[in-house]
């Protein structure tokens, strides 16, 4: 971990993530106004000392809505990635450990899922269900596990043949001991990297869905649906589209930096100056 922190990408990524996370956790303390409180006397006010990020078309304080919106965006990101990682690790482990026809079946399923354009798949599922924050988490999770499955499978396939695993198998260790004590802990590094990168893409997907009106539904604030309102008022109120856009950009940047930084730091091949 200390090696990872010496990597400038990972370090700055973590700084951004920590700030955004702190703001999200402390939202009820930090928010100067009730995020849903409508105030008809202060509609579309530009940023000022009273309203740091201005107010929206219903006179709601944008800064407070941004703070509470960050909770939604991050929650969707974390839960979706959690679901995807869980599915990916389980399927990848089964595929890589047992091989044979199970492996063939799972890998074909991965190919099929990868061949359907993800955003179409997500929108189609949402068309058949109702757009709610829970459905969105589940749908994003169920459509983004394929990468993890491939990673874990590849790790399992190569680790299986290594001496320490063979030794343990020779000593009579059972399947579950081999899987949970030897194979799984040693294949977690790429999973961590891909989960961190996954949060970034889940946050982007959620904001895109909410922007299209098919994600988090108003009045509940999310960065994406604040931007939708920003689109309506773009000629009169730049702050309504500027701040949520920047928030999404910074958050996604943070997770991407940490993910790529961790990959560099944890991969012995790219560690240090040159390769090999």
């Amino acid at each position: 971990m200390s090696r990872a922190m010496r990597n400038p990408l990972a370090f700055w990524g973590l700084v951004i993530i920590a700030i955004v996370l702190a703001l999200a956790l402390l939202a009820p303390v930090l928010a100067p106004y009730d995020p849903d409180a409508i105030d008809v006397k202060s509609i579309l006010l530009p940023p000022s000392t009273a309203h740091w990020m201005g107010t929206d078309g219903l006179g709601r304080d944008v800064f407070s809505r941004m703070l509470f919106g960050s909770r939604i965006s991050l929650l969707v990101g974390f839960v979706a990635v959690g679901i995807a990682t869980l599915i990916g690790v389980i399927l990848g482990a089964i595929s890589g450990y047992y091989r044979g026809w199970v492996d063939v079946l799972i890998m074909r399923l991965v190919d099929v899922m990868l061949s359907i354009p993800t955003f179409f798949l997500i929108l189609a599922v949402i068309a058949f269900l109702t757009p709610s924050i829970w459905n969105i988490m589940i749908v994003i999770g169920l459509t983004s596990w394929m990468g993890v499955t491939r990673l874990v499978r590849a790790e399992f396939l190569s680790l299986r043949e290594r001496e320490f695993v063979l030794a343990s198998a020779t000593l009579g260790a059972r399947d579950h001991r081999l899987i949970f004590r030897h194979l799984l802990p040693n294949s977690l590094t790429p999973v961590i990297v891909s989960s961190v990168l996954g949060v970034a893409s889940a946050v982007l997907i959620e904001s895109g869905l909410s922007f299209l009106g098919l994600g988090v539904q108003p009045p509940q604030a999310s960065w994406g649906n604040i931007l939708t309102e920003g689109k309506e008022y773009i000629q009169f109120a730049w702050w309504l589209s500027f701040f949520p856009g920047m928030a999404i950009l910074l958050t996604v940047l943070g997770y991407n930096l940490l993910g790529e930084g961790l990959r560099d730091a944890l991969d012995p091949r790219t560690n240090g100056k040159g390769k090999k």
Partner: protein, 339 residues
């Protein structure tokens, strides 16, 4: 090559069956049947159109029969007609009783999206290649650092947000570019060049937006690929025998670094097609993305199912083309020496 092609085509069969299963599964996600769920169906829809939907998907028959019929309709590319009042065929044109030709919805939207995607793939290659090569050649020096910053910001910027900003800045504040649709007023009266110029102006921002995220990824990929190749022995040999540095980089290194790029471009197709939803609906471009978005809002199920299936088939086709291009470029793959 023929044998390779046949092998690849054969592998597409299980994938197509899988796609039919997944789309069938999605259709049955809604609780009850899709005609009765309040969320799943437009409450304004008449009993008649509900009945039509039940007939279309044979919802009164047993599940296995339903699937068989769905598979058969997928095989014959028959996706029924839209629920919208115009009742146009979803996929391809059909003649009605009076002999009038009714143009298909996907038939009209597909070329638009293909055009945008081909243009953005071209843009990606044209910009990402030099960026990646420069980055690799100047590893860890200022040009590399600057390009890395660009790559990360390009990855992180939400496309729809940038589209909104460009739309406002280039379309409203400085009205240089049109921000809606594909054609300007009176484009029928323009010459060929005038029409192309008009189309180009309409497509400039959408193509740029759709290329942006791919741009960042591909240039990073080219950079890492080049770095890998540049550290190999045959590059040292090429340098040792006194070849000019440009020859080493462009003739020896770049060619080998480019091979995996073919596959990656093939893999980026579903992302591009899916990404077209936001750009097309923002700019009111009548392509697959906008068609799909409107269908989702209207709960126009035949259109949703049709686009989902055609989109997946297109992706398979794109991957096939990429694999063939790879086999064409690398004889080792063609002869089955390496995977």
């Amino acid at each position: 090559m023929i044998r390779y092609l046949l092998k690849r085509l054969f592998w597409m069969v299980p994938l197509l069956i899988g796609i039919s299963l997944i789309s069938f599964f999605i259709m049955h996600l809604a609780p009850g049947d899709i005609t009765t769920t309040e969320a799943g169906f437009n409450p304004k829809a008449s009993e008649e159109s509900r009945q039509k939907l039940r007939e279309l998907y044979n919802l009164d028959k047993p599940l296995i029969v339903q699937y068989g019929l769905w598979l058969k309709r997928m095989g014959t590319l028959d996706f029924g007609t839209s629920f919208a009042s115009h009742q146009r065929p979803v996929f391809w044109e059909k003649k009605d009783d009076q002999g009038n030709v009714n143009p298909g919805m996907i038939q009209e939207a597909l070329p638009v999206t293909l055009l945008i995607n081909v243009l953005s793939l071209l843009l990606i290659v044209v910009i990402a290649l030099p960026l990646g090569v420069i980055s690799a050649v100047h590893q860890n020096r200022p040009p590399d650092r600057a390009i890395t910053v660009f790559v990360f910001v390009g990855f992180a910027v939400p496309g729809f947000w940038l589209a909104l900003i460009l739309m406002y800045w280039l379309g409203v504040v400085n009205p240089w570019l049109p921000i809606s649709g594909l054609h300007g007023l009176g484009h029928e009266n323009m010459g060929v060049l005038g029409r192309l110029w008009d189309l180009g102006k309409h497509l400039a921002i959408p193509v740029f937006i759709s290329a942006l995220s791919g741009l960042a990824g591909i240039s990073l990929f080219v950079r890492n690929g080049m770095l890998d190749v540049l550290h190999q022995d045959y590059i040292t040999t090429a340098r040792a025998k006194g070849l000019p540095e440009n020859t080493v980089i462009y003739r020896h290194a770049l060619r080998n670094a480019l091979l995996p790029l073919i596959t990656l471009l093939g893999l980026s197709i579903p992302g591009l097609i899916g990404g077209s939803v936001i750009a097309e609906s923002l700019f009111a471009i009548p392509g697959m993305g906008k068609l799909f978005y409107d269908a989702v809002l209207m709960r126009d199920f035949p259109v949703i199912m049709g686009i989902l299936t055609i989109g997946a088939a297109l992706t398979l086709l794109g991957n096939l083309l990429a694999d063939l291009a790879y086999a064409w470029a690398d004889p080792r793959v063609r002869r089955g020496v390496v995977q």
